[in-house]
């Protein structure tokens, strides 16, 4: 059960966190590989309060998984400080492990050759979950996540969606205070994604479970997180609300217009033409603006065959952000 700590202490505290790696790179002109120090994470500072749902986003190689590894005690920082539920993850790994849950999107935490239910029982033993509490949680999650028929199936025979739901159940059986999710919806179909997001939302509202979500999927973020931390090149470049991110990042959406005939670049208020390819034109406009007036303006002035809207790419948002030196 979660302990009662004072509401002043944030659940997760990261201060001036730093992590370097020694990498051997092949350098031109030298036969032996050169030892280089790569700064994967540096000057990282943030706090997360209990019950928050935080999105942790950034391009590939930005340092996201490195951060999560340091938060869970798998990796020792080379500088700075990290405390989760008041504990130093690398020093109190076992104690901390009791109070956190981790879901890796790419790799399952379940035992490949065993039936699903056996994996859960193994975890009950490992976490020493009281039998009544275990039964209660198991029944509840199995019902909500619809795993009833899969319990006796070996994990290797499960579909990706079933396995992911199994992983989430596995991470929650022991009532963790913090849940780390790494790419949880990757490879899932639209319906499953929606159900999973709904589940996570209810988890947060009912049990006050703190959620830290690492993902590339902007829709995950938009559905679940009030707060986002953007990490790029190893450090935080934005920490605040999602809406603020769009505004600050100056992110823009794109209206793709297929005209009946080729035409010179479309000129309508509130949008800029980014690209022209034959009869197709790409118009960029601010994300917080509505597309409707722009669409209306274009349709009124031009012969339009088709239109579509592209959401901002997280990479674009971040690139803009970083370029502006935020």
């Amino acid at each position: 059960m979660p302990s009662h700590h004072s509401t002043e202490q944030p659940l997760i505290q990261v201060r001036d966190l730093q992590r370097t790696f020694d990498v051997r790179r092949r350098v031109e002109g030298r036969r032996r590989r050169v030892r280089e120090e790569v700064l994967a994470v540096h000057d990282l500072t943030f706090s997360v309060e209990a019950g928050e749902m935080v999105g942790y986003i950034g391009p590939n190689g930005a340092g996201k998984s490195t951060t999560v590894k340091m938060l869970t005690g798998i990796l020792v920082p080379t500088g700075g400080e990290v405390r989760v539920v008041g504990l130093d993850p690398s020093r109190n790994r076992v104690e901390l492990a009791r109070r956190i849950g981790v879901v890796f999107g790419q790799r399952s935490t379940l035992w490949w050759d065993l039936p699903l239910i056996d994996s859960f029982e193994l975890l009950q033993k490992m976490y020493r979950i009281p039998p009544a509490r275990y039964r209660q949680n198991l029944d509840r999650f199995v019902e909500i996540l619809d795993l009833g028929k899969q319990l006796d199936t070996p994990v290797r025979q499960l579909s990706l969606g079933q396995r992911m739901r199994g992983d989430i159940t596995a991470a929650l059986l022991h009532d963790p205070e913090v849940l780390y999710l790494d790419e949880p919806t990757i490879g899932l179909d639209v319906v499953s994604k929606g159900r999973l997001r709904e589940f996570l939302r209810s988890l947060n509202s009912e049990r006050n479970t703190t959620l830290m979500l690492t993902t590339h999927d902007l829709q995950d973020i938009e559905a679940l997180c009030e707060r986002v931390i953007v990490i790029d090149h190893g450090t935080s470049v934005y920490d605040g609300s999602l809406a603020g991110l769009h505004a600050q990042g100056g992110s823009r959406r794109t209206l793709v217009v297929d005209l009946v005939d080729e035409a010179p670049p479309i000129d309508v208020p509130g949008a800029e033409v980014r690209k022209v390819e034959g009869p197709r034109q790409w118009l960029s406009f601010p994300s917080d603006a509505s597309a409707a007036p722009i669409v209306a303006a274009v349709a009124a002035a031009y012969d339009v065959a088709d239109l579509s809207i592209q959401e901002p790419d997280i990479e674009d948002v971040i690139r803009d952000l970083y370029a502006r030196g935020a």
Partner: protein
């Protein structure tokens, strides 16, 4: 307090192992076949020794029964250790696949998890075969109560020595996954050495096998006592009763190396 913690770890190990056994028992025929296969394969070593004795009366002054005692006790100790260490030798694979990281997110000591992972009773094959050989050899021993104590302590200590040896040398994989075969020279090499009476080796090697890689304590010294023989290499008699000490020292050394290996892994990442 430390005692209670250790007992808890053993209990967790047992619970995990039991779940694996139960899962394997879902396929009883496959299980039995693998166990029998394991027994046959490990038994081939003894067939080799038996063939050897078709050509001679004694090997370096030791008869077939005496060599069988050496072989049987070492094989039993190895079988016990083998069943306990589980997947320790595959640490490198676990690192590569990211499984080790996942294990580090569980509230159970890493060593317990790695040893209990994929726990399999098919090693019972070796234990059965070794027991038969050892049992047969024991019928030729003049038993006294003290000898009985020494025999039991020999098996337990032998298990500890092999356990420590395998765990300790598997730790090399925390530092590098390229040269893992290097460890085999000491682990499987050590196991092979214990099949023979150690006086076939020059004295310098024997000293090494006593004080550096203490496999001589697995069966050689205690068996000399059980067989009522004087040490053909002239080492002190006291060593015959020192197996428990050797077992504990090896274990302690292995645990230190293990801790160091885990620290290295978490400090440098993969």
């Amino acid at each position: 307090m430390a005692e209670a913690v250790r007992a808890q770890h053993l209990r967790t190990y047992g619970q995990i192992a039991w779940l694996w056994i139960r899962a394997a028992w879902q396929y009883p025929t496959s299980f039995v076949l693998l166990a029998v296969g394991n027994g046959l394969i490990t038994g081939l070593d003894f067939v080799g020794l038996w063939i050897m004795f078709a050509h001679l009366d004694n090997l370096a002054g030791f008869s077939l029964h005496e060599v069988a005692l050496l072989y049987g006790s070492a094989s039993l100790a190895l079988g016990i250790a083998d069943t306990a260490i589980g997947s320790v030798e595959r640490i490198g694979t676990y690192i590569r696949t990211g499984r080790l990281d996942q294990m580090l997110t569980k509230p159970v000591p890493l060593l317990v998890q790695v040893c209990a992972d994929q726990f399999t009773l098919r090693r019972l094959g070796r234990l059965t075969q070794a027991s038969i050989v050892f049992g047969w050899a024991c019928t030729y021993v003049d038993w006294t109560p003290l000898k009985l104590v020494v025999a039991v302590s020999m098996l337990v200590s032998g298990g500890l020595v092999f356990f420590g040896l395998f765990v300790g040398f598997s730790c090399v994989q925390f530092w590098t996954q390229d040269a893992t075969e290097f460890a085999n020279a000491f682990t499987y090499g050590g196991a092979t050495i214990t099949q023979y009476p150690l006086n076939i080796f020059p004295r310098e090697l024997l000293v090494g096998l006593t004080f550096v890689i203490p496999v001589a304590f697995v069966n050689w010294y205690p068996c000399l006592y059980l067989l009522g023989r004087s040490d053909p290499t002239g080492m002190p008699d006291a060593l015959r009763f020192a197996s428990p000490l050797a077992g504990l020292v090896t274990m302690a050394a292995a645990l230190i190396v293990w801790r160091s290996g885990v620290r290295h892994y978490t400090s440098t990442g993969s």
